[in-house]
């Protein structure tokens, strides 16, 4: 009993000490904040509120600092992996410190845990104490961000944006009416504010597709890179002869749907909605879809695709490719440098080459639906309805689009402790060895620690060019774009109302489950393709026509914007 008593005393003391420590730390923090506030340059600038009546989309140029008062904004934003390892939140980084200096705002951050499947975000929304600026698409909110505005969670910042968002509007004006259309909602409110824009040359680039190995092609004597389905099949036959799995693919993962290999040859998507003859249709109901299934079933029968394809993950398929047990794989381009050096461990001749998507005829133009980079990249920012300083919030977001800020978020801040970049005499900028040849940490992690990718207003042209000069990235890119367009893609900027959304979700739950299962069975040969018409009938019974209707309505509204 005495011993128990002693243990409990120790525990209680620990708890007490802990609480005291926590108290003193937080009081220190608030001391720092109030101290930092008065750093501003002699109060010559007043809070920036342009005169009334400046009209729509004609804001005055914002000046810094945004405010001289002690205003704090709480931001929900991204937190790159590399940064997570050394900082508690982005507020501790040099970039954000500089931002606070320049704008005069106090910035506090809320970050979701890495790999959050939405739980953290959902709880945050339900908690009713929202951060001021939320960097999220609100796709999971019933009805989307517009419904969130209607429900009173988010602020409709249209007027403020018209008044204060000088730089942002500048970019929109340069992009033309199509860009503006993508950014607005059906009823003229701003749907997307604070997104990341792409430099023009990246607009429309496809960055995912087939990869195979040049050395394998050489080994089997194939000199021309396969483009048609026939050529692909020849390649696969040859790979079978080598005793490896011709194509390692993860049929159940999103990449297969996004890059649409084989399906695009027949003008359909693996799963989802597309345009056909200007109208929205469900790919799986189209007659061409049967031809696609036929081909896939054939490839499974011939052994081009193994039965592992149904449940393996993308990583597993990638591993097979790197280990040399598979000849081709679907991939993005970023991993290629790593892939090649890993592959070289088991085979020094390992050399990656990208292939154009298979098509029926050499000069067919495919609508690929592959993750098309389009302007703007998703990632809008919304102001919460409870924000006490909406004008300052909008001005802050706009500040991110100031050319100097965009350069800062992309390249980082040179400080006394470390130099990240230097400006060259010919006007270009390049990284120092500290970033690129750091013995302790690799380049990607360094970038995550010292730049602030989620807050970049636009991808920095120079930096992106640096990366894309690398052959392992360049070649696949150029080849993946070969004779492709996105004419049959339903624009991703379409908006649906909350009721439409709810109805659609209820329908799609069942339609996706049923069709997903049937399609995989067709491909595996467990269901005969003679039953395809029954399959379509069943889909109609489940309400696919109504789902198409809903999509069509939203699409028409989009066109009318």
């Amino acid at each position: 009993m005495k011993r128990t008593y002693r243990i409990m005393c120790i525990v209680l003391v620990m708890m007490l000490v802990w609480n005291l420590a926590a108290c003193s730390k937080s009081s220190k923090k608030s001391d720092n904040l109030s101290a930092g506030n008065s750093s501003d340059s002699g109060g010559t600038h007043k809070s920036n509120k342009p005169a009334e009546g400046t009209g729509k989309s004609n804001p005055r140029e914002n000046t810094l600092p945004i405010t001289a008062e002690n205003i704090k904004l709480v931001l929900y934003d991204g937190f790159p992996t590399g940064a997570r390892q050394v900082y508690n939140s982005m507020a501790e980084t040099d970039i954000v410190k500089k931002m606070m200096e320049e704008t005069g705002l106090q910035l506090e951050f809320v970050h979701a845990p890495e790999g959050d499947d939405g739980t953290f975000f959902n709880t945050m929304i339900a908690s009713e104490s929202l951060p001021d600026i939320i960097h999220d698409g609100f796709g999971s909110y019933p009805g989307g961000p517009m419904a969130a505005m209607d429900d009173g969670i988010l602020l409709d910042a249209t007027d403020l944006i018209d008044k204060y968002a000088y730089y942002y509007n500048g970019i929109l004006d340069k992009g033309g009416s199509e860009l503006r259309r993508r950014v607005m909602s059906d009823d003229g409110r701003y749907k997307l504010f604070g997104v990341t824009f792409l430099p023009e040359y990246l607009d429309g680039v496809r960055h995912g597709g087939f990869l195979t190995r040049q050395d394998l092609l050489d080994k089997v004597g194939i000199t021309k890179l396969p483009v048609t389905i026939e050529e692909y099949e020849k390649m696969f036959d040859a790979y079978l002869g080598l005793g490896i799995t011709p194509w390692a693919v993860a049929l159940s993962e999103w990449q297969f749907n996004d890059y649409a290999p084989v399906a695009s040859a027949y003008g359909v998507r693996y799963s989802g909605f597309q345009l056909k003859g200007g109208k929205v249709a469900y790919s799986r109901c189209l007659p061409e879809y049967k031809d696609f299934l036929d081909k896939m079933a054939e490839w499974v029968k011939k052994g081009y695709i193994s039965s592992d394809a149904f449940n393996q993950r993308t990583d597993d398929a990638g591993k097979s490719f790197q280990a040399g047990t598979a000849g081709a794989v679907l991939s993005g381009s970023w991993e290629n440098i790593t892939r090649e050096s890993v592959g070289k461990v088991s085979d020094p001749n390992f050399k990656i080459v990208g292939l154009a998507l298979p098509r029926l005829k050499e000069d067919d133009v495919l609508t690929t639906f592959s993750t098309v980079l389009s302007n703007p990249e998703m990632g809008p920012r919304y102001i919460s309805a409870g924000c006490k300083h909406p004008e300052e919030a909008v001005q802050f977001v706009d500040y991110l689009y100031k050319p100097e800020t965009m350069k800062m978020t992309a390249w980082g801040v040179n400080t006394k402790e470390h130099t990240l970049w230097k400006d060259n005499p010919d006007g270009t900028r390049s990284w120092t060895d500290f970033m690129v040849k750091n013995p302790e940490v690799d380049y990607e992690t360094m970038r995550q620690r010292y730049t602030f990718n989620p807050m970049q207003g636009m991808w920095d042209t120079e930096m992106e060019k640096l990366q894309y000069e690398i052959p392992q990235v360049q070649q696949p890119w150029s080849v993946w774009s070969y004779k492709t367009d996105d004419s049959d893609v339903v624009p991703k900027y379409v908006t649906r109302t909350a009721e439409e959304e709810r109805e659609l979700n209820t329908l799609m739950d069942e339609i996706d489950t049923y069709s997903g299962e049937m399609v995989q069975k067709f491909i595996a040969g467990q269901e005969s393709l003679d039953r395809f018409d029954d399959f379509v009938e069943q889909l109609e019974e489940l309400g696919i026509k109504r789902a198409c209707e809903i999509h069509q309505q939203a699409y028409e509204r989009y066109l009318d914007r």
């Binding site: 890495e114 499947d117 709880t123 908690s127 280990a323 047990t325 790593t338 461990v345 690799d442």
Partner: protein, 296 residues
């Protein structure tokens, strides 16, 4: 067991030993896999599929160096040890009191308490209401949000009750005759005789708290309070985003050689310590420990 061995028994013992060895091999492999992977050359690791039987390539401790350089790991350790120690004491205390109460005879609240406890085995309000309660109590983003919600596990309480019910009534009555009150019966009779089940509870609660990350993820914003498992999960989730979720351009650029290796080293670092707890508790599972404490 008491008795001499016959030939049947010798054969049985032989089979038993063999079976145990087989089971050990089959169950030790996952840990070996993780350990081997954690010492492997990262490039070779990324290019190997299937089972591995030794560290791949040139064994390296680079993964461990990087892991320990991550300040989050040390923060996580500090926090987890705190949560486990305080949490286990708190839970043991409350659960054993609860189990004691529902194992008493002639206690008019017993039925009510038992009902109250067992209903919670089936029904719960869910994530959102619990979150609201935490906020209302003003313990959001504090250690109490981690320690309090799971302080009593109804399941554990019921198991404990079963053990308490197995303690002979005679011992209780002997204490009563000596003038003991209900608290003294609890502390001087029941608890000392319950070492096996207390050891099990230390293990159940301890491991449960050590492994928990979901509660902390929802109830904590301040990363300084995160437990180790939450950091581990962050590292593990890098390669497996939620299905259907599209990766943005920046996500796709975060590939590095060490990603996979670090997953394994972090796993080892966050699992091995708790594995070492059990041997210390095993002495409580020795047969007859309860009876031996009887004072005759």
């Amino acid at each position: 067991m008491v008795g001499k061995k016959s030939i049947h028994e010798i054969i049985f013992d032989l089979f038993n030993y063999l079976l145990m060895i087989l089971l050990m091999f089959v169950t030790v492999y996952p840990l070996l896999y993780v350990v081997f992977a954690s010492f492997s050359d990262p490039k070779v690791l990324m290019g190997t599929e299937g089972f591995i039987w030794k560290p791949l390539g040139n064994p390296t401790t680079r993964g461990y160096k990087l892991t320990f350089q991550n300040p989050n790991i040390l923060i996580g350790y500090r926090n987890t040890i705190f949560y486990v120690v305080v949490g286990v004491v708190l839970s043991l205390f409350l659960t054993s009191i609860g189990a004691y109460l529902v194992s008493r005879r002639n206690f008019k609240l017993k039925g009510f308490l038992m009902l109250m406890i067992t209903i919670t085995l089936f029904f719960g309000g869910g994530m959102i209401p619990m979150f609201m309660v935490i906020k209302q109590l003003k313990i959001y983003n504090t250690v109490w949000a981690v320690l309090l919600p799971g302080a009593i596990s109804s399941w554990n309480l019921i198991v404990m009750r079963t053990f308490f019910q197995g303690i002979p009534v005679g011992l209780e009555e002997a204490a009563l005759i000596d003038g003991a009150n209900d608290w003294q019966i609890f502390s001087k009779v029941i608890i000392p005789l319950s070492k096996p089940v207390l050891a099990v509870m230390v293990l159940y609660y301890g491991v449960g708290i050590w492994n928990s990350w979901f509660g902390p993820m929802i109830y904590l914003r301040n990363r300084e309070l995160f437990p180790l498992q939450l950091f581990l999960r962050e590292i593990l989730m890098q390669s497996a985003p939620a299905s259907g979720q599209k990766l943005t351009l920046s996500d796709m650029q975060t590939d590095s050689y060490y990603k996979e290796l670090l997953q394994y080293t972090t796993m080892v670092v966050s699992t091995v310590p708790i594995l070492c707890v059990y041997p210390f508790l095993q002495k409580y599972f020795v047969k007859g420990v309860m009876i031996g404490s009887i004072k005759g």
